[in-house]
Symmetry: C2
Subunit: 688 residues, 2 copies
């Protein structure tokens, strides 16, 4: 990787002096960013660009260069890769498109390249990318011209599956006061994928946070493992969420669609920040630049009452609380004022103060006397006040650095003025109240992760997807008795049950189990039993069981062969939940939890975690469903026995990891009361 | 109002040449914006500012000026108002603070001013505001300096309860390519409130959309009535939503808190756009500048694949669909391309085209051949490409105007460049994908409202709050039998019921009604009957009814006097919903609908509409709950009888309007099946 990000020598292949040649801009960018290593250009014809010669063949450059950059028609790339191997060039960036993202022929070309690369032990960035930037080394390889003046160097490195997005991130992070260290546009990630780059950037001194744009995830488990092991924050804008975007993702970088809710759960599980878009990624990165936010106590100081009220609404949404201010502080602040015209509350509206130096004093007093977990300072001003506002901004940055306390500084003024502020400050400037609170929330979450990481988790709990067998063959649905037996094997409590072949046996099982009794047809073909009359509930006498069994066996005699009944003791009322597991193509075994019944569908209220689950993961799942408060007891329900639920979740995690033939497993419903949980029905899909 | 927004003569009171005097900036702003009417300045001492004399008394200015602007200490304002009356000045803007927003003494001062104003028939803007701007007339009365160069004139007028927010709106709408016509900062709205200004701006030729910032709503029903009657869009950022912001709202402009969900419902009912913040208001206003979006078919054209995928995700969230492109169109577009390197799908990724003129051609072809409802065009570029990008922007504006088809134009580049684009284009430029889709969604919603307005609705269905009695006294809870009788009076189906005083009567009622039977204790003190054993369900025999009745009557003998039972026929299973009504202080009688049981609380799934409801309002309520699909039938439930539900909603609306003593009314549960709805229990709170 060092040779990719810090190459001592580069050859760019595909350069000509023609106006529509793009590869020449790679040379131009390297010149503009002051690249100091050896540099060569290869094209079809000898010529010159940016004052340097173009040679007509790779033969004419020295052997064993660190890096080759190829931007030629796709068809000749395999041959060029082979030539690189012969010349002892073992790192290649392929910027050309026309591979697996484009057509079936392109996919074959890509495979051919990979084979050649394997032979020579060559590692490849791309294809179909705008490649690599490392501002520390003057490396800037995109094929479009980049202006050095819009770039701010800083702690964020970028990995992006889209070239355009990597440049948008560069622009936004630069002008948000964050700044960028390294960029890699990974394109089709035919060889090196995002996890390879993350692994490198975790060790890279210049990188303090890693920002990604992904449309598909190559190895979900390795990604999680890296995220869990590092103390550097990882922020991912994972696009390609729904049905609408799938078609383009295939054609764009041949990404496979993931189940978006599994992505959410997996990221949360390992402390990855999921950005909801470009702006959101910027706010998160800004938040990570702030000193740590240790809790939820926030003071809002605003020059405008309306902005203060709007910020208070937003603070509530982001889980902050506005602590009342003590009189001592109010007195201290009022003593600065020209006139007593404002009632001071939190949020503070300092409306009529026109002297910005007083603002800085109020902020200092606030941090000194109140020691809140964070301060949000909102300044609103116009052109005539820019000078004072600029001084205030500088002072705010100083105060935050001196005290190591987080001040989210948010300004509403002209866009050009905000640019100037951000260039100057070396401290993030927010231009939107919600963005500022998102930043503070991010710092709070990251601080909690930093101090609260779980010592019980082994550093490599998520093995790479490559170590897991992904079953691709036919599948089979197992009936309830098989699945319930599996539950019992994993110490999951089931409502007492037996299997009966005929009405008489059913009645006698019932008598043994105790009433009330439910009987169900055992069948792998019928999944919603109540819909088709394959279920009878609340039977109070052996006689009722016999009658119902007779009727049910008769009805399904021809459909199911031989028809068999599950006879089950009914259990008292409780909250119905659903616990399941699935083998996900991106993340491997995944455990799911939600409310049972119709509501999991209607309210889409379900959470996911990747197995193996830690105890904390299981507890988090219970907290994370929208209906979580139901588990605390609502109306006539008492509080649910959460311990019993976490135990079932952990059992499901083990089951999925150990029983390789189980591809899907549902316990539905699992009834939870204040005194435990009991599985009532279960089903499983297994490898045929 | 004409005299406030188009004054032919103005006197500013409170001016001095001292550095900390704020009133002098009012003179400065009027000069800067080229106000051409008569202008006078009054201060304590004779002097001069901005080249004009300050006179020491109101005596020294002519009589009958159109408008006085007061910025002096609060204490002397009442006297000044009186002097204005004597001088025949009947419109006054009071910018001073220190009134009801500040203290009890301030509140008294404010009342005193209102009394004096009433005597003279004076109308007042404020107090505690930064007053009025009308760019058409060079009127600019804020007490802070405003730079004419940052202001773009345009179709949006602003009414704001916060001075700071009015200036933020001005800045944001100016630089988003919308532009502003008139601004009024309404402060404590002691006399004129938002509805007065809305009424004026609806008739005002220069105003094409009305944007508001409100912390409290003065007369909810008049607001709704105005919104429903006008063909101009109204956009409101209503802050002060939750508990956290209430304290500051009181101190800031003495706003009263509203129930935020009622605000949501009332706005939706009358086509008011609710902005979620400053940025959102800007996106909505931009959307209203676009030609009408007639449906959901969207084509996304992007220069970057990643932006295309992100936009496709966002489009799905905003309810758009990406129609597949026909081959004829793909061929037409491919014929422009230098090389066949991109697979064209919707979203279209035009990545490798560097010639911006081709973009314009693709957009034209798209509109011509496909005729989609809207196009989203995303351009990403850097400094070296600014010139071409600028030409593209201009061309896009022209195409949209020529075809009257909506193109949301979204650019990712430097902030300063976006400013330049927006200045130049006279067409909204979005700088964020979500903002662009919010804009398109807005245009779609507004177009639907424009073509689909309900002819059955009378133009003044919402009478002003002033015409409704707001009951303030003691209240009383009515027992179920009272409320069920009220239901029956309004043709709401109830499960058959009778009242019984003793076990024998209960048993005989039950026999008459038919089994299964439920019995409930009738009491206004006990609201959740199942919690305390005041409810017995599923009784199948007269004997069971007798036993349960005896036990219940015995148990509650001492608590309730005399204990009485409701004997009720139980009805078949169905979906449990909740329909209620309440007298809201802001909007008067309000009808509410949600799922019954514990889920309305857990998922907060409830909608509101203001009475009188139209039939369309009632139908909308059924669609608007999150669990709406449940009414279509899920699993074993068939589709609900929606007609029966809308009838109950309309009955509830009539009940609330006609029964003035009813302050709250709940039907819970109302059981709905495929064959109708039946009220099972009800309660009411009435004026004591």
């Amino acid at each position: 990787m060092k040779r990719i990000f810090y190459p001592a020598s580069i050859v760019v292949i595909g350069v000509s002096e023609k106006p529509d040649n793009l590869a020449k801009y790679i040379i131009g960018n390297l010149k503009a960013f002051g690249y100091r290593g050896e540099l060569y250009a290869v094209g079809r014809r000898e010529s010159e660009v940016f004052g340097m010669p173009i040679v007509a063949s790779l033969e004419d450059v020295p052997d064993s260069l660190d890096l080759a950059v190829i931007l030629t028609p796709a068809a000749i790339v395999p041959d060029l890769v082979n030539q690189c191997g012969q010349k002892g060039i073992f790192r290649i960036v392929i910027e050309s498109g026309g591979f697996s993202e484009f057509s079936e022929d392109g996919r074959k070309l890509e495979e051919q390249i990979l084979e050649i690369a394997k032979e020579w032990n060559i590692r490849i960035v791309g294809p179909n990318c705008i490649s690599v930037i490392n501002f520390e080394a003057g490396v800037c390889l995109p094929f479009g011209p980049i202006s050095p003046e819009i770039v701010k160097q800083g702690p964020a490195s970028i990995i992006s599956q889209s070239g355009g997005v990597s440049l948008t991130f560069l622009g936004m992070l630069s002008s948000a006061g964050v700044g960028v260290n390294k960029i890699v546009s990974i394109g089709n990630k035919a060889d090196l994928d995002e996890t390879d780059y993350i692994e490198y950037l975790i060790e890279d001194d210049g990188t303090e946070m890693i920002c990604l744009y992904l449309e598909g995830i190559s190895d979900g488990r390795r990604l999680l493992s890296l995220a869990e092991s590092t103390s550097k924050p990882i922020v991912i804008h994972k696009a390609n969420r729904g049905r609408a975007s799938h078609s383009v993702a295939f054609s764009h970088t041949a990404a496979l669609a993931d189940d978006d809710r599994i992505v959410d759960g997996a990221f949360r599980q390992t402390g990855i920040f999921r950005a909801q878009g470009f702006q959101d990624l910027t706010s998160i990165a800004q938040g990570l630049m702030l000193p740590p936010v240790r809790g939820k106590d926030l003071v809002i100081i605003s020059r405008s009452g309306g902005h203060a009220v709007t910020a208070a609404d937003s603070a509530e949404r982001f889980g902050f609380q506005l602590t009342p201010l003590p009189k001592s502080f109010l007195d201290a602040v009022n003593s600065y004022m020209r006139a007593d015209v404002i009632t001071l509350t939190n949020p503070m509206d300092l409306g009529l103060i026109f002297d910005f130096e007083l603002y800085a004093k109020v902020v200092e007093q606030c941090l000194g006397i109140l020691q809140p977990d964070a301060v949000l300072l909102i300044n609103t001003y116009g052109k005539p006040e820019e000078e004072g506002a600029m001084r205030l901004a500088q002072r705010v940055g100083e105060i935050s650095r001196e005290t190591n306390l987080p001040i989210a500084f948010c300004v509403y003024t002209e866009a050009t003025e905000i640019e100037v502020l951000q260039q100057m400050m070396g401290y993030p400037v927010f231009d939107d109240i919600d963005a500022a609170l998102r930043g503070l929330e991010t710092s709070r979450i990251w601080n909690r992760r930093r101090v609260g990481s779980d010592p019980q988790i082994s550093p490599d709990r998520f093995k790479s997807m490559k170590e897991l067998d992904q079953y691709q063959g036919d599948t089979r649905l197992q009936p309830s008795d098989w699945a319930l037996r599996m539950c019992e094997q994993y110490q999951i409590n089931c409502a007492a049950w037996e299997v009966a072949q005929d009405p008489e046996a059913a009645a006698s099982c019932a008598a043994g189990l105790g009433f009330p009794i439910a009987i169900k047809l055992l069948s792998s073909e019928i999944s919603h039993k109540s819909d088709v009359g394959a279920l009878a509930l609340n039977l109070m006498h052996a006689e009722d069981v016999r009658t119902q069994a007779e009727s049910m066996l008769g009805r399904f005699n021809e459909l199911v062969d031989p028809p068999t009944l599950l006879v089950q003791r009914m259990i008292p009322e409780g909250i119905e939940v659903f616990i399941g597991g699935v083998q996900d193509p991106t993340f491997g075994p995944v455990v799911t939890f939600g409310l049972g019944g119709v509501f999991v569908e209607v309210y889409d209220d379900v959470v996911f975690r990747v197995a193996p689950l830690s105890e904390k993961d299981a507890c988090d799942m219970l907290e994370e469903i929208k209906a979580s408060q139901l588990l605390d007891g609502v109306r006539w329900y008492g509080p649910a026995d959460r311990d019993s639920l976490t135990k079932v979740l952990l059992s499901m995690s083990r089951l999925l990891l150990e029983q390789h033939e189980v591809l899907e497993f549902d316990i539905n419903p699992l009834i939870v009361t204040s005194f435990g949980s009991v599985a009532v029905d279960a089903r499983a899909v297994v490898a045929a």
